[in-house]
Amino acid sequence: MMRGLAKWWLWSFAAVLAAQQPAPEAAAPEVVRRTHAWSPATVEALATLPVQEGGRVKPLSAHAAATLHLVHGRRDMKLDTDGDGKDDLTLTPTEWLLDVWFFPEVAAHYPLFRIENVEVLDAIGIPHEGGQRFRLEYVSFAAMAAPGRVGVPGQKLIELAHQYSRKQPLDRSPVESHLVNSAQQVNTYYDLHYQMEVLRSTFPIEGEPLRAALGEVESLDFAALLERLPAFRTLLRENSDKLEDPAWAGAARLGAALQQLSGSDAGAALFPPTGSVGDSEVWLGLGGVLDLGVRGDIAAEKLGMVRHLQRAIVATEQGPRERELVQFRDAVVARATARGEYAKVELENTYLTKSWHYQALHWFLLAIVVVGVGWLAPRKRWLWALGLVATAIPLGMLTWDIVLRCLIRERPPIVNLHDTFLFIAAVGVAAAIVGEVIVRRRFVIALAPIFGALLIALARAFEVEDGKDQLAPLIAVLDTNYYLATHVTSINMGYAAGMFGALVGTLWLLLQAFGIARHDQAFHKAVVRACYGIVAFGLIFAVFGTIYGGVWANDSWGRFWGWDPKENGALLICIAQVALLHARWCGWVKDLGFCVGAALTGIVVAFSWFHVNLLGIGLHSYGFASSTKSALFWYYGIQLALVAVGWFGTVMRRVGAAAAVPAAVPAGD
C-alpha cells in the first residue's frame, strides 16, 4: 500500500515537471543506444542464480522470463540498435533483466509495454501516428515517464487503472481492461527498475557524533554502511534522548532513511538466509538485509554477497562488473546448495532453455507436412510409418516437457490451466497414434499433429495472457497429489478425447459435405468408428473424473456436489457424451447425427474447460481477461459454422444422390 502511494507521488512529481514543458508531437520510434553486452558465459552463469519469488526458489532465468512475459508479452526483447527501423538484436530474458538492473537508464528506452489498442495511448496521452484501432505498439518506460499530452502517461495510466479497477473485471470495456493490465505491468517494471537503486546510493554521514561513531567520512555506500550498522545502532540506543538536538540531526535523518528502506523490498529476494530451511524459509531483498543489519544480525557471508553485488552495480567496466556478478552468484549458489534449495534450479533453467514443448510445436508442423506427403502415396507403407514417426517425435518431446514439469514441481502433470493445454495435446496425439495403428486410414494421423500444434500454440498464447509463473506453488486446497493425479488427470483426458472427437466428427462432416473420397465407403465408416471410439474413451474418463472431483470436494469442502459452474461444466460433457452414445445405440442417430453430436461436444468441452471460469462465480473463478472470452466465442462460431456447413453439405449431397439414382436405397440417416 505504502509503495503504491509512493509511486503515485513520484508520478505526480514527474507530472509537475511535465506541466512546464510543451506537449510533444508523435515521435519517431526510439533508437536504443545499448552501451554494453553481456558475455555468454556470464549470462549462462547468471541464468542459474537462485532467487526466491512467488513463494518458491527458482532460477533467475525463470524469474526474468515470467516478468518479461508479464510486462512485454514475449519471452525475448527485440531491439533496433541502428535506427533502420528493423530489429537487429534479440535479448534473452536474463540479458534483459541484467540490463534493467545494471543499466536502468538504457533499459528504460527498450520498447517494453505492449499496447494493443491506440485508444489506450490516447487515454494516457502518448502521441502516436495512426488511427488504426488494433495496431500493436511497444511503449518504453522512458515514454511512460516523459511529459505527454495529459501530463505523465504513467501517472495517468495509474489514475485510470485505479478508477477502472473498481469495476468488476467482466464489466470493463476492452480499453479499460487494457489500462488496468498495463498499470500492473508498469508497476511490476517500476519495482524492477529501482530494485538496485539503493546500491547506487551513498548515505551522507553528517554531524560530529555520527562521524565519530561510523568513521571520519563524508558518506558511505550501502555495503560499508551495513558493516557499521551495529555501531550506529549502539549510538542511537545510548543517545536516544539527544536526537532532537540539531547536532544529531544527521543521525536522526540516517535513522529515518534506514527505517524506510528496511521496509521497502520489492521484486525477487536475492539473499538466502544463513541458517537451514527449518530456521527460516524466507529469502531477503536488500531491504531485508538492511533490517538484519539494523538488528545486528547480519552474517559475514551475506555481507560478502552484498559487497559483490554492489561492486558489480557501481563498476564502470564490463569485465570487472561481470566478475563481481559471477562471484555474487557463486556465493548465493553455495548457500542455496547448503540449504538444499538449489537442486531444482538448474533443472528448471534447462527446462526453460530447451523449451521442449516449443520445439515440439515446430516438429508437429513438420509432421503435418510429412503426413500430407503420405496422402499423396496412400499405398506406401513406409510413408505411413514415416508419418507416425514424425508425429511420435514431437509427442516424445512434449511428454518429456511434461515429465520435467512434474519433476520440478514434484506434482502430477496438471496443476493449473496452462498445464491442461500441454497434457491434452499429449493425450490427444498419443491416442491418435494408437487409433491410427488400429484403423490405418491416415486420417487420425493427419489430425494428430494439427491438434498437437494447435494446443501448444494455445498454451503459449495463454501463458502470455495469464502473465503468471506457471510453475508457481499451489494454494492449500490443491495440495494433494492423489486427487491431482486421479481427478484432474482423468477429467483432462476426458477433455482431450472430447476435443479430438470433435475434430474427427468435423472431419467426417466436411469429407461428406465436399464429397472427398466419396467412393471409399470403408474409409468414411472408419472415420465414424474412430469418432465413436474416441467419444467412448472420453466418456470413461469424463465420468470418472467428474465423479471423483466430487469425491475430492467431499474431502476438502464438505460436499460432494455443489452445482459450482466448473462441476456443471464437467457434468455437461458427461451428459452430452452419454446422450450421444445412447442416441447411437437406440438408432436415433446414425453416422451424420453422431458426427454432428461429436463435433458439437467440442463446444461443450470448451465451455467446461474455460468458459465457466469466466462467469465470475464459484470456487473455480479465475477472472481471465476479455481476450480469452473472445477467443472462446471465436471457437464456438467457427465450430458451429463448420458443423452447419458439414451438415448442410452432407444433406444436400444425399438429396442430390437420391434424385440422380431414384432406385437406389438411401444410405445413412
Binding site: E53, G54, G55, R56, A269, E281, V282, P378, R379, K380, R381, W384, I438, V439, R440, R441, P473, I475, A476, V477, D479, T480, A526, R529, G533, A536, L539, I540, V543, F544, I547, Y548, G550, V551, W552, N554, D555, S556, W557, G558, R559, F560, W561, G562, W563, D564, N568, L571, L572, I575, A576, A579, H582, A583, C586, W588, V612, L615, I617, G618
Partner: protein, 428 residues
C-alpha cells in the same frame, strides 16, 4: 428396411401397463431426459452469475420445475428477454432414476456381453440414490472456535430458526420453529401467528427480511418500517439487498408476544446476527408472562453434536515470502466418551470423520489485512452430517469398472472383427 417380410402379423395393442413400462424403459426417454438435464444445467450455470449458487441450486436443481429468465443480446445493443419453463433437477433426476432402473437394469438383457453396461448403470443408480439421501437426510453447518475453546453444537450456514427459551432450574428448555415454516408468510405486510396449547401466549411474526440490520431510530429521519421501543431506544430493521452468497445474509423480523389472558403485548425486533467465535452467548428478547421469564431468539439453526470438540492449536503457513496459504490445520481433541478425549489433526483434504459427522478445515482468523491480529487464532470447520457421505466414491469405482469392462470388451471385439480387417487399406 430389410426387405419384404414373408408374413406380417396383425398389430396387437399392448396393455396400458405394458405401454407405461415400455415408455419408462425407453432409451429415447433417456435421451430426452439427458437433453433436458443438459439444458437445465446450462441455464442454471448461466443464472448463477446473477442469482448466486445457493438460489440456483434450490430453484433449478432441487425443484420440480423452474422458469429460466434470461436475456439474449440482439444486434443494435438490445436484449431479448426470454422466460423458458424447464423441468427442474428433482423431476429430471427422479425420472432418470426410474428410467435407469426399469430400462437400464430390469429390462436390460442380463448376459456377459452387457455385464459392463449393467454394472455402470448400477453405479449411476447408486450415485442418484446418494444424491437423494443427501438432499433429504443431510445437513451442514459450521463450528468456529478460538484456541482453547470447545463446543458440542454446530451452526447452520444459511437457515434460521426462532427459538423460544425458558429457564428451568440450571438448564434452559428450548422450543424451536424453523424459519422456513413462516419466512415467506411473514413478509410485510403479512404476519404469522405461532401458537401452542401449552403456552400462555401467542407469538406474531411479521416484517420478515432475508437480509437486514437493526438501526436505532433517530429524530432526523423517517422510516416506513415499524419502530419498536425497548428500554434502550427505538429500533427498526433496515433492509439490505440479499447477497449472492446466501450465508452472508442475516435475517430479521418483528415479533409481538400476546398474552392469552389479558391480551397484553410485548414487542421486539429480532436479528439473527451470529458473532461466533467472538461471542458465544446470545441476548434473546426477554419477556415475562404469568411470573415466568421467557426468551425469544432469532438465530441460525443450531444442531447438537454427538461429541464435544476442543480446538487445541491452529497453525497456518504461507509459501515463503508471500501471503498465499500453503497449509492451515487444526489440532483438536474429540470428547466422545473417554474423559481425556482423543487428539485429531484436521487439515486441508483430511477431514475428521466421527459419529456420522465430518469436520473439514475451511477457514481461520484473524485473516491478514483485518483489524484484528492473531494470536489467538480461531479456526472454522465446515461440519456435515450426510448418511450417504461415502457412497459417491463407491459409485465412481463401480461406474469406472462397468465402463472399462464394456468398452474394452467392445474394443477387443472390434480388433478381432472381420469388419476391421476388411477395411484395412492395402499397403506395400
Amino acid at each position: 428396411m430389410n426387405g419384404p417380410a414373408a408374413h406380417v402379423a396383425p398389430p396387437v395393442a399392448p396393455s396400458p401397463l405394458r405401454a407405461v413400462v415400455d415408455l419408462l424403459a425407453s432409451m429415447k426417454l433417456t435421451i430426452v431426459l439427458l437433453l433436458a438435464f443438459g439444458v437445465l444445467t446450462f441455464a442454471g450455470t448461466l443464472a448463477q452469475q446473477h442469482q448466486g449458487l445457493f438460489v440456483v441450486q434450490r430453484d433449478y436443481f432441487e425443484s420440480f420445475w423452474v422458469v429460466w429468465d434470461t436475456q439474449m443480446p440482439l444486434p443494435l445493443g438490445r436484449d431479448l428477454t426470454l422466460k423458458v419453463p424447464l423441468l427442474g433437477g428433482y423431476s429430471i433426476l427422479l425420472a432418470l432414476f426410474v428410467n435407469l432402473v426399469v430400462g437400464g437394469v430390469v429390462r436390460h438383457r442380463w448376459n456377459w456381453r452387457n455385464a459392463g453396461i449393467l454394472v455402470a448403470h448400477l453405479g449411476i443408480g447408486l450415485l442418484l440414490v446418494a444424491g437423494w439421501v443427501k438432499l433429504h437426510y443431510s445437513y451442514a453447518g459450521h463450528v468456529a472456535l478460538y484456541e482453547g475453546k470447545s463446543t458440542r453444537t454446530m451452526v447452520s450456514f444459511h437457515d434460521f430458526e426462532l427459538a423460544l427459551l425458558r429457564r428451568d432450574g440450571d438448564r434452559v428448555v428450548e422450543r424451536t420453529v424453523p424459519a422456513t415454516a413462516f419466512e415467506v408468510a411473514a413478509r410485510a405486510p403479512r404476519s404469522v401467528t405461532l401458537d401452542a396449547p401449552d403456552l400462555p401466549f401467542q407469538v406474531v411474526v411479521s416484517g420478515w427480511l432475508e437480509n437486514c440490520r437493526p438501526q436505532q431510530k433517530g429524530p432526523m429521519f423517517a422510516t416506513d418500517m415499524p419502530v419498536v421501543e425497548d428500554g434502550q431506544g427505538a429500533w427498526f430493521l433496515q433492509s439490505v439487498p440479499p447477497e449472492k452468497e446466501r450465508e452472508r445474509n442475516t435475517a430479521g423480523c418483528y415479533v409481538t408476544v400476546i398474552e392469552k389472558v389479558g391480551r397484553k403485548e410485548h414487542k421486539a425486533v429480532l436479528h439473527g446476527l451470529d458473532l461466533r467465535p467472538f461471542a458465544e452467548e446470545r441476548s434473546p428478547f426477554r419477556f415475562e408472562v404469568e411470573g415466568t421469564t421467557w426468551g425469544l431468539d432469532l438465530r441460525r439453526v443450531v444442531w447438537d453434536l454427538p461429541f464435544a470438540v476442543r480446538l487445541d492449536r491452529f497453525e497456518k503457513s504461507d509459501h515463503p515470502g508471500t501471503m498465499m496459504a500453503r497449509d492451515f490445520s487444526s489440532w483438536v481433541t474429540v470428547f466422545d466418551g473417554a474423559a481425556e478425549g482423543r487428539p485429531v489433526h484436521i487439515y486441508m483434504n483430511h477431514p475428521l470423520r466421527s459419529h456420522e459427522h465430518v469436520f473439514f478445515q475451511t477457514n481461520w482468523g484473524p485473516q491478514p489485512g483485518s483489524s484484528m491480529k492473531g494470536p489467538p487464532w480461531w479456526s472454522v470447520f465446515e461440519v456435515a452430517k450426510n448418511p450417504s457421505d461415502a457412497w459417491p466414491k463407491y459409485a465412481s469405482y463401480v461406474i469406472l469398472l462397468g465402463l472399462l469392462v464394456h468398452f474394452i470388451a467392445k474394443l477387443i471385439r472390434f480388433l478381432n472383427s472381420s469388419t476391421r480387417r476388411a477395411t484395412l487399406p492395402e499397403m506395400s
